[in-house]
Amino acid sequence: MARKLPARDVAIVGLGWTGSILANELTDAGLNVVAIERGPWRDTATHYAPNYAQDELRYRIRHELFLRPAQTTFTFRNKHGDTALPIRTWGAFMPPNGVGGGGVHWNAETWRFLPSDFVLRTHLTQRYGAPFLPADMTIQDWGVTYADLEPHYDRFEYLCGTCGTAGNLQGKIQAGGNPFEGPRSRPYPNPAQQQPFGPTLFAKAARELGYQPFPQPSGNMSQPYRNPLGVRLGPCTYCGFCEWFACANYSKASPQTTILPVLMPKRNFQLRDNSEVTRINLDPSGKRATGVTFVDTSGTEWEQPAELVILAAYTIFNVQLMLLSKVGRPYDPQSNQGVVGRNFTHQTISDCTSFFDRSKFVFNPFVSSGAIGMCIDEFNGDNFDHGPHGFVGGGYMGQVQTNGRPIETTPVPPETPKWGAEWKRAVRDNYQSTLKPGTGVHGSMYSYRDVYVDLDPTFRDRLGRPLARITMDFHDNELKQNRFLTDKFAEIFQQAGAQRVVKEYRQGPYDITKYQTTHLCGGAVMGNDPKTSALNRYLQSWDVPNLFVMGATAFPQNAGYNPTGTVGALAYWSAAAIRSQYLKNPGPLVHA
């Protein structure tokens, strides 16, 4: 029997980016908020400092900052009929853990999606006709437009101090920026970061080929910054320990460096760390959340009553909590009915490794930041005519080399033996003269009827709850897209003077052991129709109106960009709707 805690106005599950944004917005609105976080309290200097944060074995290889699979994991299979098996050690993606969530160990690549991404089905159907889309592709419009989200993108970028060069200011195309982006109401809060040799060389080659390269928008600071909450960040020192690591010198945007110093001292805010929410509690009607139940490290179960429940955990954990708590109808791929677990996606990425003449090129790959790099966007979304190519979707591509850490980044030509004297020589000879982006081609993954999340019938977590089960495989559309993009990408390195460019296409089947970003999306998507979406356009559950679900969970399909910019914008968008509409009249904000 759970012990009951005093009621709060709001219970937030998870204190990462979205949890922090919602907590700060709702405490500003005068509400009494508790955030319940599965992992520990984390802070700069206390838990990561510049005298030990740069430890590749500890953080990159042994995954110290991430959720431990022993705490909970997922099961995975490629196809509906297969038996799913548990992910015993992380591979394809890295579920975050602890205060700050993924904001602690992300690269801080802070993109906006294209205006057409938000009305994807409408846009593609209008341009190419419905038959152009694969029959089992379940892409749909978001129910929210780029114009709706623009002010909220802006808020998130100014919170983070995003560094970049605007490409479209109020409809006017700007030199040096991304000419394909949607119109921005004002420039980035900070100028773009300086670029090392590799990205500079890539950009020059891209220009020679007629592309319009631009610096990747970055949450690693190009200069000291004070955000609108008064919180300060320092300048990035290009240490090359960004993604997988926590920033030790206050120079990467994270909840710790942008919000928590303001949020934590508030009298109407409380954090419970090391406490795992096990379910959302519903009243007997099943239409109203009464709070959440969580378990602390001693195993004691607590009930936290609340008027409003916000799910702000990692994508798939939001979906799992909804399934476990019986919020919304679970998705059934056979009947194509139900919404919770539907339209689950990841990212379609690939790389090229480019070997240059070692007598002429020294790249110092260790001089880098998480979001450094020069990119082109000519082949993203629907920025080009897909008609001749027989696929939809696309991605940005760029020389986005985030590190020269030697366990991870010691590229050798593919025919080199994997060990022995020849391997050793090749490692030595190629380290300084090879370009190997972390994620060179960053392509979209659209949604399909047979890619989804449900509860595993066999495997359970340490608390006895069924694990979430991922059923996912690549579809031809994405593999074609990736071939096309990777070929274009390789041409740029050839133009840059590489002696040899090795293309590493993304190939099926989807492999849970190979890292391919942590951008899991969907599973409880937003939309205008409760038959095909779990959330309305304000991220409010159609079924339980006092439950809001943050994060990439709501993406109906994934675009060719990193998701955090859009995740942050949606959080502010939802928070604004709660503040301006829901609190005045608690109930459904959209009537189906």
Binding site: W41, D43, T46, H47, Y52, Q54, D55, E56, R62, H63, A70, F76, R77, T83, L85, P86, I87, R88, T89, Q194, Q195, P196, P235, Y238, C239, A248, N249, P261, M264, P265, R267, Q270, L271, R272, D273, N274, S275, D296, T297, S298, V362, F363, N364, F366, R405, P406, I407, W419, G420, A421, K424, R425, R428, Y431, Q432, F459, R460, D511, I512, T513
Partner: protein, 246 residues
């Protein structure tokens, strides 16, 4: 050069970590902080094997020295400390799947579904090293009865190639899988911070020109195509940190 292990073991830092793990907390009204806060790493202790038997230790030294052979500029796996690294890793959490999902049932699945073994690396090493030794000693001809350690380098390489390709089968152990693991562990030991026992004197970092645990390259971002001149630094420092030794 050495970290103050005594401080690490007795210091407040460790006590704090212990407290953190002890239980959930309510944090309100403040940004928590205490003096000596931190979660610094624990450097390995030099000295005898912690996991391997003496025989296993010499076998792994021989193995890592073929995976990364010495050359005139850079030590091989043995002198770089890769065997010590693996020993200390196997003795620690890595050796027994600490933190990983280890609940049954255990079934083999597709490659895409990832490793499904109930056995941790420590157990695997023990079984694989014994099986490899048995394999070597069971050969006939000139090398009849010799263990892996006694074999000539060329013959050792031949055996490793056999394991790698799957041509040599070990009794009771998947030799191909084990070799992959050994390869990974050895190379990690070679390139990880020297506090973990490998990469002795930062030899691997010097070999490729990686400056190690530095944290400030502001002056170098726009110095294109120019070799970075400063020596590597470990979390334990470098010789120049000690007065009179620079």
């Amino acid at each position: 050069m050495t970290l103050r292990r005594r401080d690490l073991l007795t210091g407040t830092a460790i006590a704090l970590v212990g407290n953190r793990l002890a239980g959930a907390e309510v944090i309100a009204g403040k940004l928590p902080w205490t003096p000596d806060a931190g979660t610094p790493p624990t450097p390995v202790k030099p000295g005898p094997w912690e996991y391997f038997t003496a025989a296993e230790g010499s076998m792994v030294e021989a193995l890592v020295d073929r995976i990364i052979p010495p050359d005139p500029q850079t030590p091989g796996g043995k002198d770089a400390g890769c065997a010590v690294f693996i020993d200390r890793q196997l003795a620690g959490g890595y050796g027994h799947h600490e933190g990983l999902y280890n609940l049954p049932p255990f079934h083999d699945g597709s490659i895409q579904q990832g490793p499904q073994s109930a056995k941790g690396p420590a157990e695997t090493y023990r079984a694989a090293l014994a099986a490899l030794d048995r394999y070597c000693r069971s050969q006939t001809g000139n090398d009849a009865g010799k263990g892996f350690v006694q074999l000539a380098a060329e013959r050792q390489d031949e055996i490793l190639r056999g394991l790698e390709s799957g041509k040599i089968k070990l009794e009771g152990v998947d030799g191909e899988k084990y070799f992959k693991q050994l390869l990974e562990d050895t190379q990690q030991g070679f390139f990880a911070d020297p506090i973990y026992g490998g990469n002795r004197d930062m030899c691997a970092w010097k070999m490729i020109g990686f400056p190690g645990a530095r944290y400030d390259y502001r002056d170098w971002v726009t110095r294109h195509n120019e070799r970075y001149p400063h020596p590597p630094v470990s979390i334990a420092g470098r010789p120049a940190w000690t007065p009179g030794k620079g």
